[in-house]
Symmetry: C2
Subunit: 189 residues, 2 copies
DNA sequence: TTAGATATTGAACATGTGTTCATTAAAATA
DNA sequence: TATTTTAATGAACACATGTTCAATATCTAA
């Protein structure tokens, strides 16, 4: 199953388009593999040649979105990790922009009947951004594991996003940034 | 479908037992509704009279576990919310004990092919514990939304638990408590 | 204890899942 | 272009899903 083979590319493209079409009509949970294949005019057996579940297909899109997240952070993500109020600049906190940009996707990611996989993809994305930055500015006391610390910070931010999602992303990005900045400031007063 | 009806109670009990039996053999994702019904000697149509998915059945167990979590916190959960290092007492942080006590369940909750529902049940459980406590000790600056703040703190703790889970809960409860205490101390130095 | 209420059953049906295998079609390469 | 390689197909299989409905068994309340 060579990834360069034109046949493979064509098949995957058809499946991608079919999934997008169906996603505009109903949630991922109500979409069946048989349905995707019917729309894509691809044999169901062929689907299983490339993916195990419909989730695997969705995952391919998610990968691209995760790249956007990484690209948003060419500069280190100082705000959370240094815990220094002088360095907190909400404008450098671009993650909320990223979520808002792809909110149609994140509505799926955070819906309760979807598998945890996507949550972990987001978690791992933020986790590595933070971990990289924490490693660079290692002002952290020895007794703290960088792994635990990164996991704590990464998931805390996702906590804000969950709260945001539950109001259907009604608040503005700047509101989220302000909330985060204010929360970080508490620890310093 | 009266909840007091002996027939209902018997049916649900049989389904519960069947699920537990099967869970000791294989992960939830590989268990089918048909299988549960075969083991429970309950008609498959009867299953659908009470639940929509096998996940709904699992959820009933989870409710009981969430009650344990709540019972662990008769006293307010001061450690995280007050952000005062003098009040941080790892022994009052009982959540990690709770997770360890039910780690066979949490291995399922955090596995990647399981729906987000359970994650949210845990999140909501911790969220309300924190929110209740934050409301009591409202030393929080006005500009912060209690909702966002609680979501942030609750999910941060779950972040630690995810990291813990990913090493199959090898670290001790006291290690987790120390990590949390140390992380909270950073914001104050 | 009996009569009425209702939960459970078994059967059937259309559809989805996941897999197999020989056949066919389309691509790579020589 | 001709040959080789391999992806895609269609058919078939056993099994799961989700639903319906009349018949039955079992509970509750009078």
């Amino acid at each position: 199953m060579s990834a360069n083979d034109l046949r493979v590319i064509k098949t995957k493209q058809a499946l991608h388009n079919a999934l997008l079409t169906l996603l505009s009509e109903k949630p991922l949970e109500n979409i069946t593999i048989a349905e995707i294949c019917r729309v894509a005019k691809v044999n169901r057996g062929t689907f299983y040649l490339h993916y195990e579940q419909k989730e695997g297909l969705f995952e391919e899109y998610f990968q691209e979105i995760m790249e956007d997240l990484n690209n948003s952070y060419e500069e280190p993500y100082r705000a959370v990790t240094t815990m220094d109020k002088n360095q907190i600049d909400p404008n450098t906190i671009r993650i909320f922009h990223h979520i808002e940009r792809f909110k149609m996707f994140y509505r799926i990611v955070f819906s309760k009947n979807v598998p945890l996989t996507y949550y972990y993809m987001l978690f791992d994305g933020i986790f590595s951004l933070l971990k990289r930055d924490i490693t660079i500015h290692k002002e952290i006391h020895d007794e703290i594991s960088i792994e635990y610390y990164s996991a704590y910070q990464a998931n805390a931010i996702i906590g804000l996003i969950i709260q945001w999602y539950r109001q259907d992303f009604e608040d503005s990005v700047s509101t989220l940034n302000k909330q985060l900045a204010a929360i970080l400031r508490i620890g310093e007063k």
